[in-house]
């Protein structure tokens, strides 16, 4: 019994001491707490700001809507496809539920143009859409390829580089703010199908210069004229996302023509040959070419499992669209999200097979929270997607923003605590001579043998 009492007394004394210590700390530590809070908040805000500033490509609606009374929302749709073997194979169309192809763009455009027209009080049903009117879109897909410089003699060793080829269509530039080192970007209306834009990494690797417009590079034996050099981003997130790799941009149609040749097309057959090792259900001739794009043959290989429509007829795997982006006017907040989903062919709300994301506002606190929680859900849902570098960067940014926001939130909590401390201290200061001295009567009542009030 005595032991038990002694134990109880020990904890009672210890608790009393701790409470006294805490009281002293509370009364003496507001400045450091507030300083820490401010530091954390500043660190969080600066970090978040830097992360957001590096991802202006997610904020292009702000620049697109300059001077307009209507707000715009930037939307992205990511579709899946099949790569035969490795990333050097082009993303091929698989199924209407999970993939997008070029003809789907016209369907989406028609539907979205109807939505935009109805927003403007016009007829919802529209005829063929030559180009979006009152809104904007772009589509793209990526493939790994070997880019080389032409040699003066066939016996010379070609300078080559493994680069990522981005096939773009629509107004790609409106969604991706590049820093232009020289020239420009591929015009929306095609001037020359064999034009190419290099990123600074690839341009520097080839030429040790950025003023290289007018020069020619080879992809799959086809010459492409360089019309511009761009820098995409150089932040740590960009590096993680793979931005700092050799990359080039060509037209989507050109990429499609190069990588999914028709069986009767002899002119591009060399592009279809290459390093394919998979089963060939397409039209690959099986011949090899050291200078062709490494993914060329696999484009024609049998990746069109379960394909419908023309794919089964032609026997060719069709190049899939990896990313479709749209800039839509939005009279009601969030309506563009459902508009895009409704415009997608065969999109099911209950069982979405395409990843639709609103780039506008994706770095807000709530969106970041939704991204992070439940933990691991987003990653598992998007595991089968093959995202382009800008989306990878956006996702990494979202994750990092969570930590920045967490730091900021911690600072805010500390700020609240510090504020509370300051208030307590101020109340204490109203009693002269009591500031740092030992209180005559403890804040916590002395132990009287009774249980302390909770």
């Amino acid at each position: 019994m005595a032991f038990k009492d002694s134990i109880k007394e020990y904890f009672r004394d210890t608790g009393k001491i701790n409470r006294e210590r805490f009281r002293k700390f509370v009364l003496n530590a507001p400045f450091f707490v507030l300083l820490a809070a401010v530091v954390l908040i500043v660190i969080g805000l600066v970090g978040a700001g830097k992360l957001k500033a590096a991802r202006e490509d997610q904020n292009m609606a702000k620049y697109w809507q300059q001077g307009a009374s209507t707000t715009y929302r930037q939307m992205s749709v990511y579709a899946r496809g099949a790569r035969n073997g490795d990333s050097t194979a082009p993303l091929t169309y698989v199924d209407t539920d999970i993939s997008l192809k070029k003809s789907d763009v016209s369907l989406i455009r028609t539907a979205l143009q109807g939505v935009v027209n109805s927003t403007n009080g016009q007829n919802k049903t529209v005829a063929a859409v030559t180009a979006p009117i009152g809104w904007e879109d772009a589509y793209s897909t990526t493939v790994e390829a070997t880019v080389s410089l032409p040699t003066a003699n066939s016996s010379d060793t070609a300078v080559t580089a493994d680069a990522q080829l981005v096939g773009v269509g629509g107004n790609f530039r409106a969604f991706h703010p590049f820093k232009y080192m020289s020239g420009g970007f591929l015009p929306e209306t095609i001037c020359d199908t064999n034009q190419i834009v290099l990123n600074d990494v690839l341009a520097w690797r080839f030429y040790k210069s950025y003023d290289v417009t007018g020069n020619v590079v080879l992809i799959g034996g086809t010459e492409y004229t360089i019309i511009g050099v761009v820098r995409e981003g150089d932040s740590s997130v960009d590096e993680l996302a793979g931005t700092q790799v050799p990359r080039a941009y060509i037209y989507f149609d050109t990429l499609a023509k190069t990588y999914t040749p028709k069986s009767d097309s002899s002119s591009n057959s060399s592009a279809a040959s290459g390093t394919s090792t998979g089963s060939s259900a397409g039209t690959s001739t099986g011949s090899t070419s050291s200078t062709s794009a490494s993914a060329g043959s696999t484009a024609a290989s049998g990746t069109s499992t379960g394909s419908t429509g023309s794919d089964s007829d032609s026997g060719n795997a069709e190049l899939a669209i990896q990313c479709y982006e749209a800039m839509l006017p939005e009279l009601v907040v969030g309506v563009a999200n459902s508009d895009v989903k409704n415009a997608l062919p065969n999109y099911s709300i209950n069982n979405p097979q395409l990843y639709v994301v609103s780039d506008t506002g994706r770095f807000s606190l709530t969106r970041v929270w939704d991204w992070m929680f439940p933990i691991g859900q987003s990653e598992s849902e998007l595991a089968n997607y093959d995202f382009p570098f800008w989306e990878k960067a956006a996702q990494i940014t979202t994750t990092r923003l969570f930590y920045e926001y967490a730091v900021c939130t911690s600072g805010i909590v500390l700020l609240f605590i510090g504020g509370t401390m300051a208030i307590l201290r101020a109340r204490k200061l109203r009693r002269p001579g009591k500031l740092l001295a030992e209180p005559e009567t403890p804040l916590i009542p002395e132990n009287t043998g009774e249980e302390p009030e909770s």
Partner: protein, 546 residues
């Protein structure tokens, strides 16, 4: 100490160096006059000519869409179902209108023709014409009244003379007849005793002398009877002679008597003529009557004309009403048939086999008229008749011709052949619509196709790197540098200038717009800019190779 550190931190935070770090660096350049070789390309959507459009049903609500894009359907497959029509007020209203019109038509057909007044007016004209004729006759008679009376009087006079002569002749001849008759009576008186004597002799049996043959002078008798007979014969001869004279005189009487009646009649007629002429009014009165009758006739004719016009108008109106009513009935019947068909329609079926594409309806949509709900295109891509209509500048289209092959940029199409060239209705002066057929392609409707037609080479006033040209919801623009100096240094901001891109080859763009002359145009920026943003200028030459 703490306050000092805090102030220092704040000052450091807002120092020019750190503030400048937040200002994006830009590279600016001047637009220059130059030559730009550009490709004349055009983009247009593919049209599958032999696609089948499934049209919407006006006012109906989609219940369920059974197909989606790229689905294969056969003829008769149900594409989408419709919700029942809950509100048939329109149909009921139309049917009510139709019933009303049909009743009106029936009543109109049974209604007898109404007197339109034309016959009465025509009778009035006839009567007025008759009155005029009579008046004219009266006038004519009035004009010949004196002559008529004179002629009649002359006739009376003449006839009276003749009548007097004839009566005298009758009197004279009658007297002669009477005289001769009395002589004959005297002879008979003479003959009677003689005959009595003869009769006595005959009664006594005295033979009667044989009458002498005709032309033979009888021989005087010797006996009394003979003498008596001779005397009687002589008397009879005298009597016969007298009778001949009587007959002649009687003939004269008869002739004169016969002449008396016509003469009297003529006299009476002449007298009647005189009487009638005397009853004819005066010329002035007759002329007044003619004028009055002429005016009455004119009025009647005018009335007839007006009545006929009014009657024709009434007939035309009635006919128009009938025509309009019949047309309205036909229209209503057609509308009712269409509406009834729509009301009865519960599902829309495929009218062709192939791929479903461009599905534009969804569950719950309320459809409007004559819109494409979806289209069905041939399943076999080789059967699709694909065309594309490109709009080229006239100068570019001059180099094109029917049958020319255009370089096509799309991945799944092989050839693009020009089939016709005509003015673009949207700008017939400057643009040409070049219609092409697409072969060998797995083309889908509305798919964008880009072709190259020709190269052009032209001098432009403002040529700049294409990176300078930006685009937003209002169009193309560039940012020009606006500089200002202050004691703290130079300050640069960007100003948005709307431009028109006249041509581009990807690397360079020819632009036009206000305020481009001697303006520094941003060709490179660290981050996207907005109008009025403050920027830092970066040396292009030093940074391009960094």
């Amino acid at each position: 100490m703490i306050a000092f550190v805090a102030i220092l931190a704040v000052l450091t935070m807002f120092s020019n160096t750190i503030m400048n770090a937040t200002i994006p660096k830009v590279v600016a350049s001047y637009a220059s006059r130059g030559n730009l070789a550009s490709t004349n390309g055009a983009t247009a959507p593919v049209v599958v000519e032999n696609s089948t459009k499934i049209l919407t049903v006006d006012g109906r609500t989609v219940d369920k869409v059974n197909v989606s894009n790229y689905d294969t359907v056969n003829v008769g497959d149900v594409l989408f179902t419709l919700k029942p029509v809950e509100n048939t007020d329109d149909l009921t209203e139309l049917q009510t209108q139709l019933t009303t019109l049909q009743r009106e038509a029936t009543y109109a057909a049974r209604t007898p023709a109404t007197d339109n007044g034309v016959q009465a007016a025509r009778d009035a004209v006839t009567a007025a014409q008759q009155t005029l004729n009579d008046a004219q006759n009266t006038l004519t008679q009035a004009n010949g009244k004196a002559a008529t009376i004179a002629a009649a009087q002359q006739t009376i006079n003449d006839k009276n003379a003749a009548l007097t002569a004839a009566e005298a002749e009758v009197t004279s001849a009658s007297a002669t007849v009477e005289s001769l008759q009395s002589q004959m009576d005297q002879i008979d008186t003479e003959i009677a005793p003689l005959q009595s004597q003869v009769d006595v002799y005959v009664a006594l049996g005295t033979p009667t002398p044989t009458p002498a043959a005709a032309g033979v002078t009888p021989t005087p008798g010797t006996s009394d009877i003979e003498i008596l007979c001779a005397q009687i014969n002589a008397y009879n001869a005298q009597k016969a002679q007298l009778q001949s004279q009587v007959a002649s005189a009687q003939a004269r009487v008869d002739t004169a008597s016969a002449a008396l009646t016509p003469l009297k009649t003529a006299i009476e007629q002449a007298q009647a003529t005189i009487d009638a002429a005397n009853s004819i009014p005066s010329v002035s009165s007759a002329q007044t009557a003619v004028n009055t009758a002429q005016a009455a006739l004119t009025t009647a004719q005018t009335n007839l004309h007006d009545t006929q016009i009014n009657a024709q108008i009434a007939v035309d109106k009635a006919q128009d009403e009938v025509t309009d009513r019949n047309a309205s009935i036909a229209t209503l019947q057609q509308k009712i048939a269409v509406l009834q068909a729509k009301v009865d329609l519960t599902e829309v079926k495929a009218t062709a086999a192939g791929y479903v594409f461009n599905v534009g309806v969804a569950t719950g949509d309320v459809m409007t008229a004559n819109q494409t709900a979806m289209m069905i295109i041939p399943e076999d891509s080789s059967e699709r008749q694909c065309t594309v209509s490109f709009s080229f500048a006239s100068s570019v289209a001059e180099s094109l011709y029917v049958g020319a092959q255009l370089e096509i940029t799309s991945g799944y199409m092989q050839t693009c052949t020009v089939v016709n060239i005509k003015p673009d209705p949207t700008n017939p002066r400057d643009m040409r619509l070049v219609k092409c057929t697409i072969d060998g392609g797995d083309a889908w409707p509305d798919e964008q196709v880009t072709v190259k037609a020709a190269q052009s080479n032209k001098d432009y006033d403002n040529v700049i790197a294409s990176s300078a040209v930006n685009e937003d919801n209002t169009g193309s623009f560039v940012y020009v540098i606006v500089g200002s100096s202050s004691p703290l240094g130079d300050k640069y901001t960007v100003k948005r200038v709307t431009v028109t891109v006249e041509a581009t080859n990807g690397t360079l763009s020819a632009i036009s717009g206000d305020g481009l002359t001697n303006a520094q145009i941003v060709v490179r920026s660290e981050k996207p800019l907005e109008d009025g943003d403050r920027v830092r200028l970066e040396d292009l030459s030093s940074s391009s190779n960094s």
